[in-house]
Amino acid sequence: MPRTGTTGPPARYGLPRAGPADDVPVRGECDIPASSSSAVELRGITKRFPGVVANHDIDITVRRGTVHALVGENGAGKSTLMKILYGMQRPDEGTIAVEGEQVSFRSPADAIARGIGMVHQHFMLADNLTVLENVVLGAEKAYGIGARARARITELSEAYGLAVRPDALVEDIGVADRQRVEILKVLYRGARTLILDEPTAVLVPHEVDALFGNLRELTAEGLTVLFISHKLGEVLSVADDITVIRRGTTVATVVPRETNPKALAELMVGSELPVPETRESTVTDEPVLTVAGLHLTGLDADGVARDLLTGIDLTIHRGEVLGIAGVEGNGQAELVEAIMGIRVPDSGVITLDGADVSQAPTRARRVAGIGYVPEDRHRHGLLLEAPLWENRMLGHVTERPSSKGPWLTARDARADTRRIVEEYDVRTPGIEVTAGSLSGGNQQKLIVGREMSHHPKVLIAAHPTRGVDVGAQAQIWDQIRRARREGLAVLLISADLDELIGLSDSLRVMYRGRLVADADPATITPEELGTAMTGAASGHLEHGEVPAAPAAPAVPAQAAPPAPDDAAPTPEAQKEGDR
């Protein structure tokens, strides 16, 4: 088992550590034997898992009272490992020790009983219940459902600075607040070790800072946090130790102060990264996709008609990547669906290469040259139960090599699928396996390969590298860049600000269904862009410009105007401001 990582003295980079009892002794070797100073120890964990990458020979020691980050490509086996630790999967080999004691979990209930709790990437909250009800739900035995439960929630909330409002309805609170409710839920059940699965994926930058503040309070009180991420900058800023997982096994454990994002990324992919920045403009003045005066209303969850898109005007030229920044739920998905013809806008004209396609059905638009990498590949991009070669035909069934006239040409489609698998490095043992058995990154490479194979004039790429490992990410970026050089126009929608800035030739900011600001990716910083995404700035963003308002309150994840909790700064927002 390779263990090449640095194993230094305890890491404490200026984090306030007021923890009374749990002062951690100086750590010696990384492979210290089980002792009470480690909250969790995994030794030689191997899982032959139904999925693409199996875990093998995993060794991790998590010191009590620290934030321990687990980084690695998606599909490297991080989530599997956490499921093993949380009792959702059982390892085939290896041991788990909690607080120095060997354990064997049969279900999450066992893990919870041992003080291990998990905050899932996708929140598991009932929208129509209050925060209190959500926390108590399923744990009624602990403190009842009345005053005692309320007192405990308030106590926990204050102890860890979570600032939750017990009586707020979950549907009324923002994403960051929901996350805090999830953390509280876990604490309420007596967790001493928290697993957070990609907690920052749904947050804007200043919410991430607030979350990290919470995590520090937790560790200060002696709790332990296992933090899964593939955003290296965040990991470096919050973690005390970082374990890198590559292809199913732990390759190194490092401390942030002795490493940097580049070295970490290279550990993750196991090779030197391509440099994402070098660019020369390939933008021409030849418009390919023009959207003019696009307006879309729709019904929200309550059945009230709301403006989802208002007065959208944009033009993408040959060889241009136009990036759309924005907090999710501000109309990006609707914009994509309107351009693809999945939603019918109330008004507006969409022109593709000089032809008005406003009335054309989706299939005609795709045949006319719009490639589509959907946001949710499981729901919109793949037939999970169908073999890869049938997925290769999806969306292009009327074109060669999928069909000739009304007849399918399965043989040609199979041959072309093999080519895509080869050229786009889709890691699969064959083209007859179902799409559902590939890892996310490989599924995405298949989709990108499929769309690029039809030489689109414009590519609509919604979060093209979401949930995709660094290696696949670099490959997908390369594909987009190469196609852009050959004259492809790209509409890029992403929550990854580095990706937006690194890939785009021009940037627009979307807020509540409008394109409110534009920016030059060559000069703008992620922080400035993040501020604009909260609606605090509009017009042309200049680098160094002081935003109109200080950090805006938590942005609700909905495009709908008047949202009650946005009008006045909420208590926790002020608190965040103070920090």
Binding site: P2, R48, G51, V52, E266, L384, P429
Partner: protein, 378 residues
């Protein structure tokens, strides 16, 4: 690259055979237990069934009876393949047969014109009747399960309204029936040493072949299956889900329209009070039993009729008449459960093999890269 692929292919074959085998053994075991529990000898019962079922007149009976069942199953399967549950095949074929009988009874054209015309009328009527449910689903989002069940009752009432003396039916002795279709417009028969085989057998074979070709070999079939597998992905890929829903219901109904043809053109020659009912529901069971597979449904229909035929003989041997119903139910359940468990097991196994293969590959490359990573972290 090749070895695991071949392994998967061979597995596919083994799994394909394992499921029906498992189902059959389970069904036999359960039925035997039921027979034992009622104090009867199961092996004697099977002996009786095999002996009686293999007689040549039984064979013809089974074949003839299987034709409408098979057509009904195909009609249901078209819906199943795109996650539509067309429970209304029953109403669809009765409406179709009734109006086809009326048209056939009113005309006396040469057979080679009138037979296709009658069949066409039946298919159009069946299609339109199912199309109502399709339209409601596409335009208003009404569940086709509800509408097709309700349309079954409406079909009964509609036929009941027209099926009266002075309207579209006439009295013949004590019976009311539609005017008889001329002898020249009856379907041909294939004569055997015992009873003749109904010529509509050809119709069933054609329907089966068309079903297979359209679904697995054409663009339209791909769209339909895509909708069945994931509506959202199909929509995003450019399939008009609404149009596919309507088309599939029209198709399903049109095939359902054929279900009444063996009786109408082969035996009765008119629509009477004794026209068979409930074939549509049997069709659902057979589609389940045949796993929506063109060939599988053929075998399922034959098995079903074999049980019906031999069940009557069991009665003579002193067995309870209901035992055949029990057998049919047990078989359907065993097949559905066996196929689903074998499928799940196969998917898991496939995923595990994919995982093992890639993990092995990863381990090999990891060895090469250890040197690099050692340098990086140093």
């Amino acid at each position: 690259m090749n070895t695991p692929l071949r392994r998967i292919d061979r597995e596919k074959l083994v799994l394909g055979l394992a499921a029906p085998l498992l189902a059959l053994v389970t069904a036999l075991a359960i039925t035997s237990l039921v027979l034992l529990a009622t104090g009867d000898d199961p092996f004697h019962a099977y002996q009786v069934m095999v002996d009686f079922g293999s007689k040549s007149d039984s064979q013809v009976w089974i074949l003839n009876k299987a034709i409408p069942y098979y057509l009904a199953a195909v009609a249901v399967a078209v819906g199943f393949r795109m996650n539509l549950f067309n429970i209304g095949v029953d109403g669809q074929y009765r409406v179709a047969a009734f109006f086809a009988a009326v048209v056939g009874g009113a005309l006396s054209l040469p057979g080679f014109v009138q037979i296709p015309l009658i069949i066409l009328v039946a298919m159009v009527c069946g299609g339109l009747w199912a199309g109502i449910a399709g339209y409601l689903k596409a335009a208003r989002g009404v569940s086709e399960v509800i509408t097709t069940i309700m349309l079954n009752f409406i079909a009964g009432s509609l036929i009941g309204y027209f099926f009266q003396e002075g309207r579209l039916a006439e009295r013949e002795g004590n019976l009311i029936r539609t005017p008889a279709i001329p002898e020249s417009s009856h379907f041909f028969e294939i004569s055997t040493r015992v009873q003749p085989i109904n010529g509509t057998f050809v119709l069933a074979v054609l329907a089966g072949v068309a079903y297979w070709v359209v679904l697995s070999r054409t663009r339209f079939g791909f769209d339909l299956r895509a909708v069945g597998r994931s509506e959202s992905a199909a929509e995003a890929s450019g399939v008009s889900v609404r149009r596919t829903v309507v088309t599939a219901m029209l198709l399903s109904g049109a095939i359902a329209g054929l279900v009444g043809m063996p009786t109408l053109l082969g035996q009765s020659g008119s629509y009477g009070i004794d026209f068979p009912e409930g074939l549509g529901f049997t069709g659902i069971a057979i589609a389940l039993l045949g796993r929506n597979n063109a060939l599988g449904m053929g075998f399922a229909a034959l098995l079903w009729c074999f049980l019906e035929r031999t069940g009557t003989q069991l009665e003579f041997e002193g067995y309870a008449q209901e035992i055949v119903g029990v057998m049919q139910g047990v078989i359907v359940l065993s097949v559905v459960i066996a196929y689903e468990s074998v499928r799940r097991w196969g998917v898991k196994r496939q995923q595990r093999m994919v995982g093992e293969e890639l993990a092995a590959r990863a381990r090999r490359t990891a060895k090469d890269q250890d040197k690099n990573s050692a340098e990086v972290s140093a």
